[in-house]
Symmetry: C2
Subunit: 278 residues, 2 copies
């Protein structure tokens, strides 16, 4: 059986597979397919979110560049990411506490059941605190401060739209510590260039340092996929190579995509992307 992603009206990717879970949650239409190419694939509202085979790319690149650029990240906040992949990567660092705020409990439950290779028991780590709730409300109301905040939301259509707003980023800024950094996905650098441009513009209003990372994820069609960092003082692209090498080695990090060379290489943009973001 073929299933096709329906993200774009004139473009689609099809993967052969069988549907093994289907659920209308209060927030979205959730499906899990089993494919021989990518293992299990999670879709929300018809859009591929993660696959067992290539999830490591997105999850590593949303975490290690920030956590290794910060000299001592201790308190981390994750918005979204109910599959647990980000949490797994953050917990590889010497953090004291990681709070994950996911709006849709069903995503957590189905991920625990079907995507255990992604969350790998991270929900049970003593440092992890799982909150089922609205990420925008959480950042508005929390009294805590965080060193690193990872926003792993769906695209700015539907429920996640608020997570792309200036007010949301102002709240994020407020709850970051002095040298804090945040990162979020900002879509395909070609197919969703408007998302990337608008996000960059909005983030630049709030953060003195904004840095774009480009990565290639097989199941996110459209060439480079973008992740954008907003930071108070630390520019991940200007930390010394030596510091990154040392921290990476000291943690004995086992990564499949990230390495200290990629740390810097992923911030070098082709002209056609760089020129759009100036």
């Amino acid at each position: 059986m073929w299933f096709f992603e329906t993200l774009y009206p004139d473009l689609k990717i099809g993967v052969k597979g069988d549907i093994i879970h289907e659920e209308k949650t209060p927030f979205q239409d959730m499906k899990i397919y089993h494919t021989s190419r990518y293992g299990k694939v999670l879709t929300l509202d018809g859009v591929i979110q993660t696959t067992q085979k290539d999830e490591f790319i997105y999850h590593e690149m949303l975490t290690h560049p920030l956590l290794l650029s910060h000299p001592k990240p201790q308190n981390v906040l994750i918005i979204g990411a109910g599959d647990g992949g980000i949490l797994r990567e953050v917990l590889k660092h010497k953090v004291k506490k990681v709070t994950l705020v996911e709006i849709d409990q069903a995503v957590i439950e189905v991920s625990k059941k079907h995507l255990a290779t992604i969350n790998k028991g991270s929900f049970n780590d003593k440092r992890a605190k799982i909150v089922v709730g609205d990420g925008a409300k959480f950042v508005k109301n929390t009294k805590e401060k965080f060193d690193v905040i990872v926003v792993d939301s769906t695209d700015p259509i539907g429920p996640a739209k608020v997570l792309f707003s200036e007010n949301f980023y102002l709240d994020i800024y407020r709850i970051l510590t002095k040298n804090g950094l945040m990162i979020r996905q900002t879509g395909s650098a070609t197919l969703q260039l408007t998302t990337l441009k608008n996000s960059t513009k909005t983030l630049k209003k709030v953060f003195p340092i904004v840095r774009t990372q480009i990565i290639a994820v097989p199941t996110y069609i459209g060439g480079f996929f973008s992740l954008t960092i907003g930071s108070k003082t630390i520019d991940t692209a200007k930390v010394t190579q030596k510091a990154i090498n040392q921290r990476y080695a000291k943690l004995k990090l086992k990564t499949k995509y990230y390495n200290p060379d990629i740390h810097f290489a992923c911030t070098k943009l082709p002209n056609y992307i760089g020129e759009e973001l100036r």
Copy 2:
């Protein structure tokens, strides 16, 4: 109307468009579609070869890294690439002669007619010599020597298989000048990893320096796409940044993807690719 690429049995990309040319040549089944997303799209045997919208990525990255790493490239050979895109980019350099050997005259003709934005009159440049013939035979028989050779073949299934063989690379080595370099496409670094691994192994038998570049092309699905360089003396990743900056500036190169930062960044491999090629 949707058309779907048929390169993989369990995976496909679909683009909405209209067919505007269809031809069975003596070598392959050739089609041109018009799409609003990617402009005109050329397919050979059902596989997307190039599109007006994103062709610059592949064409720039198969040429400038070599032509700027070589101190004085004068004589260049292109195998395949009947659409003229590689030729266009090579002619931006101070070369004396560029020979293009394309096996299928129909590809040249249809590209002149439908893909003029790609070849941009380069077939009429006085420095260009167009040969309709078999690339493998050409490299076996030519008495000329070349500074740079670009092999732009289809995948190693069907007629292009010989262009992935050790004997072919031995001929290439023989007809390269003392500091000569060659480059070829070696497929998606995930979906065609076997092609990349085998090509790397074969090239290492022939060339003292083998270097992998990774690029992201929206219409080549599967994450990073790989280009592999075989070289006698020059490592494109170890040329000085200063030399590349100077040569790029001196030529006043107008590029949409390539720039001196990308020159080096594209040689930094994620662990899951790098480890496979060691």
